[in-house]
């Protein structure tokens, strides 16, 4: 059975050359990847993604992604959804209220206002990354602080094969429809190993863990949490 990979979030920016907002997405994504959350994020190169990069597409299927677009065309978000799955978060720079009709400079060279927008968007991305990975962040510095949620590093959690046949996929009936989840047996095995009981005390933690690898909307959380707990109970009975 393959091991669960370390939790990370994929950041995919449109990098649109036509507008300063496109440049904002590029610089904001790089700031998150290089300084704010370097160990928690992975860059997904949009041109490679669109041209058929299987590594990037597979990553985006199994990990949560944050798409950062310059405008309402939402190329990064649409591309991610087209080839992998809906991004967990979609940010559109020119819809941010703080920009209004501000002059950000040119696409080739942002001005001071543009660079401030870069910092603001980067902080937003970092915040979303924290929420997706259930981390706490310092709002002033934008850097993560110690918190209970990050996984402990261990030799057993290093790598897993990305081909679809080795990450298990499970289909459950939830609220009258079939829903496919990735990595459930692996998540269940980890929960079992740390002694999490298949009862209500585990429900929220289980939902949070499953959300790392599967997109679950807020509206569906209650029904999904219940279904996942039932499946975990069944897993524990089988495993016992």
């Amino acid at each position: 059975m393959p091991e669960l990979p370390k939790r990370k979030v994929g950041i995919i920016a449109c990098s649109g050359e036509e507008s300063p907002e496109g440049t904002v997405t590029r610089l904001a994504a790089l700031k998150v990847l290089e300084s704010l959350r370097p160990h928690e994020t992975v860059t997904i190169c949009l041109p490679l993604f669109l041209a058929g990069g299987e590594g990037d597409r597979t990553f985006a299927r199994f990990y949560p992604t944050v798409a950062v677009d310059g405008c309402e065309k939402r190329c990064a978000a649409r591309g991610t959804e087209m080839y992998s799955g809906k991004p967990a978060i979609s940010i559109v720079v020119n819809e941010a209220a703080s920009i209004g009709s501000s002059d950000l400079g040119s696409a080739r060279q942002l001005n001071e206002t543009g660079m401030q927008v870069v910092n603001d968007v980067a902080a937003q991305i970092a915040c979303h990354v924290d929420q997706l990975l259930d981390l706490k962040g310092d709002r002033r510095s934008g850097l993560p602080v110690d918190g209970p949620a990050p996984q402990e590093e261990s030799q057993s959690r290093q790598a897993t094969c990305s081909c679809s046949s080795s990450i298990p996929v499970t289909t459950l009936h939830v609220a009258g429809r079939e829903v496919t989840f990735v990595a459930l047996p692996l998540i269940f095995a980890q929960f079992r190993e740390v002694g999490k009981l298949p009862d209500d005390s585990t429900k929220d933690d289980l939902l949070r863990a499953v959300k790392i690898y599967n997109v679950i909307s807020d509206a569906d959380e209650t029904s999904y949490a219940q279904a996942l707990l039932q499946e975990y109970s069944a897993f524990c009975r089988r495993d016992h």
Binding site: P5, K8, G10, V42, D56, F59, Q158, A159, C161, S162
Partner: protein, 149 residues
């Protein structure tokens, strides 16, 4: 490329390690061909190094001791001195790399080979080499460390 290929994925990168080859811990693969060994960079070594811009390999007739640099590979990120995993003499150099160094990235276990060495001390050299499974484990660890940087 010989036999079954082992794979490991770290983040979005997949690294291939074919069985049937031996590997040094510096990421050089060795394919035994009679009393000669064909050498090249492993998939992990070439991916970690980046796109190759230039590859300079020591010429035919060069005597090597295990650990001597037999090639210099300049990539977009780093300049890599490639240590020989074996003792011997270079008898063939991959001349294609002068015009197409990108072969090292595109086909590291095939057309991207670096040199062929006439072996002089294989019985001792082989003791320092890793089989595919052991090298795969090494790659997992090294790749995970790279991702942390």
């Amino acid at each position: 490329m010989p036999g079954e290929i082992l794979k490991v994925t770290v983040d979005k990168f997949t690294f291939r390690v074919p069985k049937g080859l031996s590997y040094s811990d510096a990421g050089v693969w060795v394919k035994l061909e009679g009393n000669r060994a064909r050498l090249g960079l492993s998939d992990f070594a070439q991916q970690s190094s980046g796109d190759v811009a230039f590859a300079n390999i020591k010429p035919d007739g060069t005597d090597l001791e295990r650990g001597d640099a037999f090639a210099e590979v300049e990539t977009v990120k780093v300049n890599v001195s490639v240590p020989s995993p074996v003792n011997g003499t270079i008898v063939e150099v991959n001349l294609s790399l002068a015009e197409a160094p990108e072969l090292i990235n595109q086909d590291p276990y095939g057309k991207g080979w670096l040199a062929v060495v006439e072996l002089s001390d294989w019985e001792n050299d082989r003791a320092y080499l890793l089989d595919a499974e052991t090298y795969l484990a090494l790659v997992k660890g090294q790749a995970a460390e790279e991702m942390k940087r």
